[in-house]
């Protein structure tokens, strides 16, 4: 039996705004009266490390998505998509930002950063992969920092929450002067996914 209506795993690098995406979804769910659970990464890993957030809509159990159970994997960084690919369910959707953030293990020459196709191929084997250059799209929206909101816009196509409530929650969650650029980022992200 399903124990959650929609399980999402949101991954990226500390500082990319992973938590904000989950916060907006949670606030939207609250407005919709849907029970919501989320688990965040704080502390040490936030210092440029790899971060993972679990968000569960229509769930009254624990905050963590079981491995192999995520309906959606949202990756703000490509390598992180593959690192946490095991959480994605067969037939699930992977939304991947294609702009890499190089870890120091790569910049110091100890490891090689894989090509984007090498990263996406294993995920394509069992899931629907939607890749986009969210960082570049965010620049078009007016601020490269809004790549997370571009990805949220794309993900909104797959979430069982009314879009108007997500936009309401977005307005509540960002400083007033950045509302417009975030709304634009959301729209551009949404347009990347064909209805």
């Amino acid at each position: 039996m399903r124990t959650s209506n929609c399980d999402m795993v949101i991954v990226g690098v500390g500082g990319q705004g992973v938590i904000l995406i989950s916060e907006i979804i949670g606030r939207a769910a609250l407005k919709a009266g849907i029970p919501v659970r989320a688990a965040e990464t704080h502390g040490m890993a936030q210092r440029g490390g790899s971060v993972i957030n679990h968000t569960r809509l229509g769930c009254v159990y624990g905050p963590m998505v079981p491995e192999g159970g995520a309906d959606i994997l949202l990756a703000l960084e490509p390598a992180e998509a593959l690192r946490y690919g095991r959480y994605l369910s067969t037939g699930g959707v992977a939304l991947v930002n294609t702009t890499p953030v190089l870890p120091t293990t790569v910049t110091t020459g100890q490891f090689r950063y894989p090509d984007i196709e090498e990263i996406l191929a294993p995920l394509r084997g069992f899931a629907r992969v939607i890749a986009m250059n969210a960082t570049e799209i965010a620049e078009r929206a007016g601020n490269p920092q809004t790549a997370n909101i571009v990805m949220l816009g794309a993900m909104s196509r797959f979430m069982p929450v009314d879009e108007a409530l997500i936009l309401d929650a977005l307005r509540d969650s960002v400083p007033r002067k950045y509302i417009d650029v975030n709304m634009k980022a959301f729209e551009l992200g949404k347009a990347e996914v064909s209805g």
Partner: protein, 594 residues
């Protein structure tokens, strides 16, 4: 009202709803956001909020608050309770006046900690009740309940959220926050219960033992101990593991007995009822087998044939954190149902590791680089707890044990007979927390070594909390600003100097002088945290690599995330302009972007 709250924010909310008038803590993941939240809203209520210099101070302040008749809370991470263990153990004897709650947040899997100790063991050790919330809602409700329980039995009460509760978010039903006076009527003299002379401690210990039965009986009926008997196989689970177990049973559509436990001492009557009606039970809990041991004791008396699965049988891991799939599979195995294998994803081996790293422009990196030039690679670098431990890849972190141990372990290595140069590294907040006694000890006992205080003017790792060196309190009020330099001199260091780590040459010279000083020397490396500067609106210059670059890789060894290399060096947009790489480059090929 329904709100979407982080577990720690729910606890802060509970503190306010319970009418508490004093909250003290020391930052530590995953507990920090409780005081962070309270300090942001303190001005609206009659409540004292403080970041104490360490957990012992925080608990003692909270004890004083309780004894003055004010409901009080002390917050810390699990290892912080070790620091506060001295007052904690005897406090159980002396008892409280107004309710006193100690929040000790556990960190299974060591997400951001040096160990995975289980606070429930401390509760047993001190004969103090402990509440184990499963989610933010329970965390809020239990916080309020804990104050009542504390007053009813005149004992401190432990609240033990774990990382997945403190840093979980969910929809939470909040209550009313009472307005008006929160401070009590003052301290009432009562030596028999406030002075732990042996003549008082002996009867107080007996009284503490005597009230255990009453405490257990009261906890039996707490709403977080839920028994559902269905058939002769079942699961007993505590805290968040109770939610994992409920989810597993729903997922498996397994209609079996379930006892969820949320309070300690564990409810032995409910366990007895469960044990009498079952032939096989799986005990699911994180870390130590606290419930499992209680089940074993009860079963010996009422059902010696009971088959108990758990940590001893190897079905539930004792180390690390539990997760829904692990619990689901353990229960499925017990029931003879099919197990869901974790997904084997071929190709993941190409993903490069991404360990946490010092931020671009971090002053710690610059200090480590200079230190290493001055002391060399054979020197011994004892280190401490903070962001700077992340600098391990630079070869300047040889030890890390607990708060303040860098200095004392360094002394011990010297007196243990090692004659190599020793440089102990400790952050500003950690130094003020537990490093000062070590420095005093080193001076007093004539330790020959160097202590580097890496001063970034904040408690960075846990979310940038202030400390006595910042001149600001938890609630943002100005206060006395303590000088690390004066403290170091007052504690007996023979040579003390301050240095700007971004000036590489001066910095290397300062560390060299400290190394050569024939006694105890202190170097204070001062560079405010870049994250903090950025939040204050500071705009950083950037550097770039010119055509003069010959690809010698010397700047790459500085291991800054802003420096990339592909035949030649390249500085990416992460640069915050500390300028140290430009000083390292032997060709002068790194320059400021105009």
């Amino acid at each position: 009202m329904r709100e979407y709250l982080l577990g720690n924010v729910a606890i802060a909310r509970g503190v306010l709803e319970a009418g508490a008038g004093l909250a003290a803590g020391y930052p530590g993941t995953p507990s920090s956001e409780i005081i962070d939240t309270l300090s942001g809203i303190a001005s609206g209520y009659d409540i004292h909020i403080e970041w104490s210099v360490n957990e012992k101070a925080a608990l003692e302040v909270a004890i004083g608050g309780s004894w003055a008749g004010t409901r009080s809370v002390a917050t810390m991470k699990h290892v912080g309770l070790n620091v506060a263990a001295d007052p904690f153990m005897t406090l159980a004897y002396l008892g409280v006046d107004a309710g006193l709650v100690i929040v000790s947040a556990d960190d299974p899997y060591c997400h951001s900690s040096q160990n995975e100790q289980d606070t429930r063991r401390y509760a047993q050790f001190a004969s103090v009740p402990c509440l184990d919330p499963a989610d933010p809602q329970e965390a809020l409700d239990m916080t309020i309940y804990a104050f009542d329980l504390s007053e009813r039995f005149s004992v401190p009460v432990l609240l033990r959220p774990t990382t997945r509760v403190s840093h979980a978010r969910s929809d939470v039903e909040t209550g009313r926050i009472p307005e008006g006076r929160r401070r009590g009527r003052g301290f009432i003299k009562d030596p028999a219960r406030r002075v732990s002379l042996p003549v008082n401690a002996r009867p107080l210990h007996r009284a503490l033992i005597d009230k255990q039965k009453d405490i257990e009986r009261a906890l039996e009926s707490a709403p977080w101990n839920r028994l559902l008997l269905k058939g002769d196989v079942g699961v007993i689970a505590s805290g968040i593991a109770g939610l994992y177990a409920e989810e597993a049973l729903a997922n498996l559509e397994a209609d079996i007995s379930l006892l969820r436990i949320g309070t300690y001492p564990a409810p032995s009557r409910k366990i007895e009822e469960f044990v009498k009606h079952t032939s096989k039970v799986m005990v699911v809990e994180e870390l130590e087998p606290v419930v499992e041991e209680t089940v074993e004791i009860v079963a010996r008396r009422c059902n010696p044939e009971l088959e108990i699965l758990g940590k001893r049988s190897g079905d539930i891991p004792r180390a690390g954190e539990l997760d829904p799939l692990t619990v689901r599979n353990a229960i499925a195995r017990m029931l003879g149902m099919s197990v869901t294998a974790p997904r084997e994803l071929p190709g993941t081996e190409i993903v490069p590791p991404r360990p946490p790293s010092l931020c671009p422009g971090c002053g710690h990196r610059a200090a480590y680089y200079a230190m290493r030039k001055a002391f060399g690679k054979d020197a011994i670098y004892t280190n401490d707890i903070g962001c700077y431990t992340i600098g391990i890849s630079m070869g300047t972190v040889d030890t890390c044990l607990c708060m303040g141990a860098s200095i004392t372990i360094g002394s011990g290595i010297r007196f243990g007979g090692d004659e190599r140069p020793i440089c102990c590294c400790i952050g500003d907040s950690t130094f003020l927390h537990a490093g000062m006694t070590g420095l005093l000890n080193a001076a007093y006992n004539k330790s020959r070594m160097t202590v580097a205080i890496l001063d970034n003017s904040t408690t960075a790792m846990t979310g940038h909390q202030p400390h006595p060196g910042t001149g600001v309190t938890a609630t943002g009020e100005e206060t006395v600003r303590i000088s690390l330099e004066e403290i170091a001199r007052a504690l007996g260091a023979g040579h003390v100097e301050c240095v700007d780590p971004y000036n590489l040459e001066e910095s290397i010279d300062a560390f060299t002088r400290a190394r050569d000083f024939p006694g105890l020397s202190v170097v204070i490396s001062k560079a405010p945290c870049r994250i903090l500067l950025r939040r204050k609106g500071e705009r950083f210059r950037r550097y770039r690599v010119t055509d003069e670059c010959v690809g010698c890789r010397q700047c790459v060894e500085f291991s800054c995330p802003a420096i990339e290399f592909d035949e030649r060096a390249f500085i990416n947009q992460l640069c915050t302009g500390c300028g140290v790489c430009a000083q390292i480059c032997p060709k002068g090929a790194i320059e400021v972007v105009k």
